[in-house]
Structure formats: C-alpha cells, structure tokens
C-alpha cells in the first residue's frame, strides 16, 4: 500500500525530472490504478499524443509497466476484441530515482570506473541497447570505442547482477484475483512460489524474464528456458543474426540488486552495533554467499546454510580468517540461531529481528525529540512489551508523575503514536473507565513512513525554494564570489544550505528504505 504522502512525493520527483505533463499522467495512474491510453486521455484532458509520449517516458525510465489483462471466462466477444493494454505506475522505481548516487557508489566500490560510467548512462536514460551504450561511450572521442570493450563492461555488471534485461513490454496478466497464478506455473513450482499479493506484484513478476535469461548477454540462449516470457524464440540462428539481435536487447539497472545490497549493509551495520565485529563478519559472509539465491529483497530469514559452508565463507574474508569455529558458532547463537532452531544442521538467521530494532530506534528518536524523555521512556516500555498497559502501570514502571503520564500518553495517542482502548470497570459502587495503551507496530510504522515521505517532500521543496531564491548568485562569476563581502557570505550560506539539506535527504532516504524496502 502506497501512502498519501508517498504518492505526493513520487509525483513531485516525476515533476522535477520530467515535467508537469508526465507528472499529471503519473498522478492519474496513482489515483485510479491501472488505466488504458483512452482512459488516461479522458482523465487528464491532454491530447492522445501527449499522454502516449508521457507513458513512453515513464516506461523508458522504468516508472510504468504496460500489461494486457487476460480475457476472462465471462467476457463476451466485444470484450475479447477490445485492446486491453493497461499501464501500471511503479511507485518503488520512482522513489529509487532518489537513490541513484547510492547505486553508483556501490558499483564504484565493487567494480571499476568503466562500470560506473556505463551505469550512469543507464540511470540517466533508463533503458539502453548495447549499440546505444557504445555510442554514448564514443561521444566526444576521436575514435569510436570498440563494442567488445563495452560488452565486457556490461558483462561484468551482468555477472554482479547490477544490470538486467528489460522486462517483457506487455505481459498478459490475469486481473481476477479468484484464482492464483501459481496454478499456471504447475504443481511443482506452486510449492516454491507464493501467490503474489497485489496486482503490481503480479504484473512485475509476469514481466520479469527467468533468472538465466535476465542476466545473460547472448541473445539466443535462455529462450528455451523461459517460454513464458519469451515467445519469439527461433531455433538455429546464424552468428550474424545473433549479434544483430544482441544489439537490440534493452538493458536497464537492476534496482532490486542495489536495494538488496543496501539492505545487507544495514543488516550488517546493525549487528555490528548490537553485538560486535565478529558477529557482523559472520552475517556478512552468510549474506554474501546466499545473496544470489534470495527470492526477493525482503527476506524474513537468511537462506539456510550448513555450519561447514558458513565456516568456509567466513574464512574467505579478511576479518573472518582470525575466527575460530567456536567463535563463529557463538556469533551464530548471538544472531539468534539457537541449537533448537537448527533444521537439518543448517543455520538460518532471522533478519526481521535485526531490522525491527533499527525501526524502533528511528521512531523512538522522533518521540524523544518531539515529546521529551518521559514520553520516550513510556513509549519504549510499550514498544518493548507489545501489550496493553494502563496509565497507572505505565507511570509506576517509568517513574513518571501520574498526571504527567496521562497527559503525555494522550498527546502520543492524539498524534497516532499510540493505540488506546477504554475498558469499563467497577470499583465498589462506582463505574470507572480505565485507559489501556499499546504500540501497534504495523499501524505506527505505516504512519511514520507516511510522515517520512511528507518530510522528504518538504525537504525537496525547500531545497528547490532555496535554489530559486539565490538563483542570481549562481550566475555571478566565481572570482567575484571569492572576494570578501555580502556576496561571498550569501554564497557560502547557499553552499552550507545545499550541503545540509542534501545530506539530510540522503539520510532520510535511508530511513524510508528501512521502513518500506527492508
């Protein structure tokens, strides 16, 4: 579920990057759900060309996905003939646009400068063919860069799964939710794949090619592996044809892999602060070994590994080489893998348990700053216990004056940070009402996430405003700005403002990911 301010922030990002018309189309897709081209024309009052171009921009930048809804049994002939291409806006991919610097940072640390350059192109243009990549690389150079060089760089990015083939342009998807798609995949795979929950998930899943073809450079391979998504496979094609076909394949950055990387980083850092470096090393080795087998980004538990494999993986790392088996085992116990939880001698780490304290900490820090230390203590008590407590109990456990306690609890409840229920009770002859308080985490987290989107939108708007305010400053020659005086002072302020707001937005985005993507 995308929250109100999440949508506003998404639309804001689209406005900033692609202008108002595209943003309007995007907004309509958010408010109405998947729409056809004609419906969009009707809702937006734009010409068909304007809407079509906006959709093309959104698809090019992976912010929208077209799909064809599968005919249903009760459709009549007219229904069956009608064009069913609908467009679905992809919220996550829009917000990912905020994270491009982080994605580039990952590649610059894991791979080389060439890969970063290639990825910059992909992030800027959304989708590129090999030929377009070569053209981009050759720009401003005397001699054209050989295709082989670019192909090699692309190959590196593909092996690391940072780049993937673009999804199918218009997959056929059943929009009825009575039957699950798992049935189509056959009984065998039904055990592995869970039924997708939302239409968005279903469409995305249907469009993504199978893992083998998704990350392979060669054109003809894999088409047999994944019949579902690649219907145009032609057996026995010549090398020339193969090359020509290869050049037509569209590539894009694989956001999923980047988010997985960022999630792993957060998990490891949290374990480091909660426990120690050794435990962080063990977790890091486990995640490194299983990253490519993870079915989705939001894995509740790590993929099970045997102790032997874990030891081998840990010893591969620089920091892990010094660890004894006993220490590795102790670290696994610290990570919550108690012997009773071990299934068939394999260890699986509860990752949700690592994410949860990080989320709690973020919310608690808001409570501390907004409502003070007494409220912070009471909130932490309720968040820790996850059950109802009455006012007196809370006041006594946190050493807060009763009157003050009820005031603070009421404030927290009014601002949606607490959940309250009234319970009637009889004390002697009197009928009294007892207020019971609780932290309802799923509800609260959704609320906080919405507030964060709101804050991100505000930060971004204010940044634009500050930029606008001092626009003339940027036109002043640099030499003049270096001379002491009011101009220099103003310029320095602008630089400070930009730095503070930019870093705050990046930090806030970390928190957004913590609540939405992790």
């Amino acid at each position: 579920m995308v929250t109100e301010h999440g949508i506003k922030f998404g639309v804001h990002l689209i406005t900033k990057h692609f202008g108002k018309i595209v943003a309007k189309v995007c907004e309509k897709l958010f408010s109405h759900g998947p729409l056809t081209l004609d419906q969009l024309v009707r809702y937006t009052d734009f010409t068909k060309d304007q809407v079509r171009n906006s959709l093309l921009v959104l698809v090019q930048h992976n912010c929208a996905q077209a799909f064809v809804s599968a005919p249903q049994d009760d459709d009549d002939d007219a229904d069956r003939l009608r064009v069913r291409t609908q467009y679905l806006v992809l919220f996550d991919n829009i917000i990912h646009r905020l994270r491009f610097p982080k994605f580039l940072d990952i590649v610059s640390r894991k791979l080389d400068e060439e890969c970063v350059k290639l990825l910059v192109g992909l992030l800027r243009d959304g989708r590129l063919t090999l030929k377009q990549m070569v053209d981009r690389e050759s720009q401003g150079k005397e001699n054209a860069v050989p295709t082989k060089v670019v192909r090699e760089t692309l190959c590196k990015l593909l092996t690391a799964r940072f780049v993937e083939r673009c999804p199918a342009p218009e997959p056929v998807v059943s929009t009825s939710f009575k039957e699950t798609t798992t049935k189509k995949r056959g009984a065998k795979s039904a055990k592995i794949f869970e039924a997708p929950e939302t239409l968005e998930q279903r469409v995305v899943d249907a469009a993504v090619p199978g893992d083998v073809i998704r990350f392979s450079l060669t054109a003809n391979m894999g088409s047999n592996v994944d019949r579902e998504t690649n219907s145009d496979d032609v057996p026995m094609i010549s090398v020339e044809e193969d090359v020509a076909k290869e050049e037509q394949i569209l590539w894009r950055a694989n956001f999923e892999e980047f988010i997985r990387h960022l999630r792993h980083k957060v998990l490891i850092e949290n374990v480091r602060t909660q426990h120690d470096d050794g435990t962080a090393t063990v977790l890091s080795a486990v995640l490194e070994a299983t990253g490519s087998v993870e079915k989705k980004v939001k894995m509740d538990n790590s993929v099970p590994l045997s102790l032997d494999t874990i030891i081998t993986e840990v010893m591969k790392t620089d920091t892990g080489r010094t660890m004894t088996i006993d220490r590795i085992r102790a670290s696994l116990v610290q990570l919550g893998c108690s012997p009773s939880m071990i299934l068939e001698e394999s260890y699986s780490i509860d990752l949700k348990k690592i994410i949860e304290p990080a989320r709690n900490e973020e919310v608690e820090s808001i409570v501390l700053k907004r409502y003070g230390r007494d409220a912070y203590r009471m909130f932490r008590l309720l968040a820790k216990d996850c059950c109802f407590h009455d006012t007196d109990q809370i006041a006594a456990s946190t050493l807060v004056e009763k009157k003050e306690a009820s005031k603070l609890l009421y404030k927290l409840w009014k601002d949606n940070y607490l959940y309250m229920e009234k319970v009637g009770a009889t004390a002697g002859a009197k009928q009294i009402t007892i207020l019971m308080w609780k932290v309802n985490k799923p509800l609260l987290w959704e609320y906080v996430l919405d507030e964060m989107y709101h804050a991100a939108l505000n930060l971004s708007l204010r940044m634009a405003f500050e930029q606008e305010k001092d626009e003339e400053l940027l036109k002043v020659p640099k030499d003049k700005l270096r001379e002491p005086g009011p101009l220099q002072k103003k310029y320095k302020r602008l630089l400070n403002v930009r730095l503070l707001m930019g870093s705050s937005l990046l930090k806030l985005d970390d928190a957004l990911m913590l609540f939405h993507d992790f």
Partner: protein, 239 residues
C-alpha cells in the same frame, strides 16, 4: 479479636489511647477514634462527615483541635491531592497514600531519582558490566545515598535506565568483560561511550525540522503552513 489480646505494645497503645481520649470532647473523641481506626490509610474529611454524621462545623473545629494536640496529622493522598486527608499521628502513611518510595510530600521526588540514576550509571560505566546485586552492594558499602535504598528501588532504577536506553540488559557469556560474572546471569552494560546521560544520536527524521514539527499535519506545499514559509526551516538554515 485475637490480635488485640496478644502483644503488650498493643495493650499499651490502648491505654495511651484511653489516656489521650480522656481529655477530649465527645465529638473529638468520635472523630479521633474513627481516624485512628483507619491506621496508615487515613481518611478523607468527606468520609468522616458521612461516617460520623457530625455537623460540618464540629468536624472542622475538632480536626483543628486534634491537630493542635498532635494527635492527628494532615497527609497528602496521591490518589486525590485536592482532598484533605487525615491520619493518626503515630502512623506513617501507606504506599497507596504516598505513591510509594519515590514520592515525597505527594510529589514524585525527581531530584532523588535522578541522583540514584546518575550514581548507578557511573558505577556501571566504571565496572563495564555490573549485576543488580553488585550495584546494591556497592551502594550499601560506599554509603553514597544518605537514606537506605532497597533492592526493589535499585531494580526500578535499572529498569528505567534500560527504558532510557542508557544501559542495556545482557546475559553474561563468561568471557571478556563478563569474566567475573557467572554465565547466564543478567548484567547491565552502559550504552554511551562517555558514561554520561542523554547521549543518543538522533535518527534521520529527528534531525530535520519536519521530524519534530508539531504542525506537520497542517503542512501542505501551497498552504498557510508550507515548507517555503516554514519558520522551523528558517531557523534550521540560519547559518
């Protein structure tokens, strides 16, 4: 009746009671007996009037006289501070009346609580890890508090320090810092590096104006309250 026959001190009390009440008027005596019977719970003036059926003026006058003779005292009832509550002078108010050990004159003794918190935190920081019993023993030996602090009080303080996120509860592993503590025993460890209170780093939301804004729900891009006109932003970006 059995507990009245037994102890000699109770007998003496009864004699004393007879002695003191001898010089009282009827109204005063009735009132005193009632207050005395409530022991360490005391009684509210409203309840006195209802139970004794004495007129308002008599009750008021008698209470004044009894108080001047040091037979009764006025106490603050934590449940209802506005009501006048009386108790026989020989009793100490119960926990229900005072609010417990952390209350003084009907008010939470925050100065004392903070003092105990500070002292405990400093001790845990110095020790790296400390058990409840360790804190208790040290406080007793060092005589750091002027009054006696009970085990329950130390427990409560440690619990609130955990809730303050100043210390963390950990189980001893028997290695390193835990070497002096038996394995599996509950210990406390300081969270901050400096051993001072209130050192938590603010989160991403809490370090920007919107994170602490009381008006965020009224803030819209083009509204009266908007990020463009926001005073909190103005203050934040004032370099």
């Amino acid at each position: 009746m059995s507990h009245l026959q037994g102890s000699s001190s109770l007998k003496r009390k009864r004699q004393d009671l007879a002695l003191v009440t001898g010089s009282l008027t009827d109204g005063e005596r009735v009132l005193y007996n009632l207050i005395h019977s409530k022991k360490d719970m005391g009684i509210w003036t409203g309840d006195m009037k209802r139970e004794t059926n004495l007129p308002d003026s008599i009750v008021k006058k008698s209470l004044k006289l009894l108080q001047s003779k040091n037979l009764i005292k006025e106490v603050v009832n934590i449940q209802n501070k506005g009501r006048k509550h009386y108790m026989a002078a020989e009793f100490e108010p119960s926990k229900e009346i005072t609010g417990g050990v952390w209350y003084n004159q009907g008010r939470l003794d925050t100065d004392f609580i903070n003092l105990v918190k500070d002292v405990c935190l400093k001790y845990i920081f110095r020790q790296k890890v400390a058990t409840r019993d360790g804190v208790m023993e040290w406080s007793r030996k060092s005589g750091v508090f002027n009054v006696e602090v009970t085990t329950q009080q130390i427990d409560e303080i440690l619990r609130t320090l955990v809730l303050d996120d100043e210390i963390v509860e950990v189980k001893s592993t028997g290695f390193g810092d835990f070497s002096s503590v038996p394995v599996g025993r509950i210990c406390y460890r300081c969270k901050s590096k400096g051993g001072n209170r209130g050192e938590q780093k603010p989160g991403a939301m809490a370090s920007i104006p919107c994170g602490v804004c009381p008006r965020i729900n009224f803030c819209t891009p083009d509204g009266i309250i908007s990020p463009r006109t926001c005073v909190y932003y103005q203050k934040w970006l004032d370099f």
